[in-house]
Amino acid sequence: MKANSKKQDASQMLDGNRAAALGAKLCRVQVVAAYPITPQTPVTEALSEIVERGELQAQYVTVESEHSAMAVCSSASLVGARTFTATSSHGLAYMHEMLHWVAGTRLPVVLACVNRAIGAPWNVLNDLQDSMSQRDTGWIQMYARNNQEILDQIIQAYRIAEKAYLPVMVCYDGYTLSHTDMPVDVPSQDAVDGFLPPYKAHTILDPTNPKNYNLVTLANPRLNAEGVLCHGYMEIRYLLQEALEKSKEAIASVGREFGDLFGRSYASLLWEDMMEGAEIAIVATGGLAMEAIVAAEMLRRDGIRAGVIGLRVFRPFPRADVLRALQGCRLAVVFDRSISYGNEGTACSETKAALYGTGTNMRVHGFIVGLGGRDVKARELAGAVKRTLSLTDRGALNSESPEWVCEI
């Protein structure tokens, strides 16, 4: 299979934004609606040029805001078009309401989120606060560590979205990925066509068979005009949760199939590096998981058996996979580039919650790092792990609140 894919793939030097645009093009998206915002802007520019040159049969809808961009994607998806948008930071925040509408309508829209810090104060550099703040909207969230994973996961996102009827957000770090060139294997159009069948909408607006969507749905189930007992609000929301939980299976099977066809497997919802025999797990999301690998290598050289769990998929949260990966560890150090203010780092809470009720004595300690583009060096991560380990061994570790790596 690998030999085959080598024949199909052409290696190109691409930055993350061009990898995302190319991914959307290879998926033959039919409607693109996006509003430019730093650092996502080159995605919109690349796609508008691709459409303008006639390389993609798509409607490129210029809109006045991100809220409208998502509204256009919602409508287009409802009439059976494969849709794509991209945004960052304040743009994603502005889209927030429509993210709920799209998930609630179970529309398989795919969004590239180029992660950027959110104001105040103004900042254009990377952290994950923008997408993590959209955690509860009902979207699948996948994170990339490099530009290959951006391209690959956008292609998989459509398969997953259109199978589960759920929207998917593919998130990648602003600048460190979006504006950094890396070699990316670009699959051929034929290969992607073979992997991704045309989009089939779950329901479709049709003038000959008129329907109302998202009508006022009050608390209780009700009989419709045909006398059929229909969902109340709560039943529709139950189905959304059920779909997210079930989508774990789809994400893994689509990732496995992608691996068979293209030689790069995504069968796991996590990235696991050096976890075999590890007694200390470093947990991180996105590009930070790559830096954590370098830190773990440093720790291993110093005789500390460290490994890395990267959260490739954040929603649905891979509870069982995290539990399995943490088996045999005595300490998990979670590095977050986002925080739930007043509590702790986003992934730290999730990791602790996954362990609840297992009777484990494992310690979980959280660090907040790299907000607003603050550089995170592997040796700082390794140093933080060593400090935590030493406090743990002395029985002096206080994990009540996250530790901030900053100069306050």
């Binding site: 609630g104 309508t105 179970r106 009827y165 779950h202 329901t203 008129p210 329907k211 109302n212 969507y213 998202n214 009508l215 006022v216 749905t217 009050l218 189930p221 009700r222 419709n224 005009a225 045909e226 059929v228 007992l229 229909c230 969902h231 109340g232 039943e235 529709i236 189905l239 779909a243």
Partner: protein, 98 residues
């Protein structure tokens, strides 16, 4: 037998009367027409119908005499506001009504 049987995965319905339920149950006060004042009745011909035009729920008939469908009238009172001859009064509903 749960609602799963309907087969929908999002809020969906066919256009039809009462798709949002019997909204008349929401009513706090009801419009009562004084036919002695109502223009179409007084002139005995189709006329005026501002209540029909302005009703946001389309529950007012364009007939002589004018009729209001109380199963769906939410009692908003717009008809009473727009009636140029003040033929419609909003009368408080009996709260013990089922």
């Amino acid at each position: 037998m749960g609602t799963r049987e309907c087969g929908h995965i999002c809020g969906e319905s066919s256009p039809g009367i009462g798709e949002a339920g019997k909204t008349g149950e929401w009513r706090d006060s009801r419009p009562v027409i004084d036919e002695a004042k109502c223009t179409p009745v007084r002139r005995n011909k189709p006329a005026c119908f501002l209540c029909w035009l302005y009703c946001p729920d389309a529950v007012v008939s364009k007939t002589v005499p004018v009729r209001i469908d109380m199963e769906y009238c939410k009692g908003c009172g717009i008809c009473a506001e727009v009636c140029p001859v003040h033929a419609i009064a909003m009368v408080e509903e009996d709260n013990s009504r089922s």
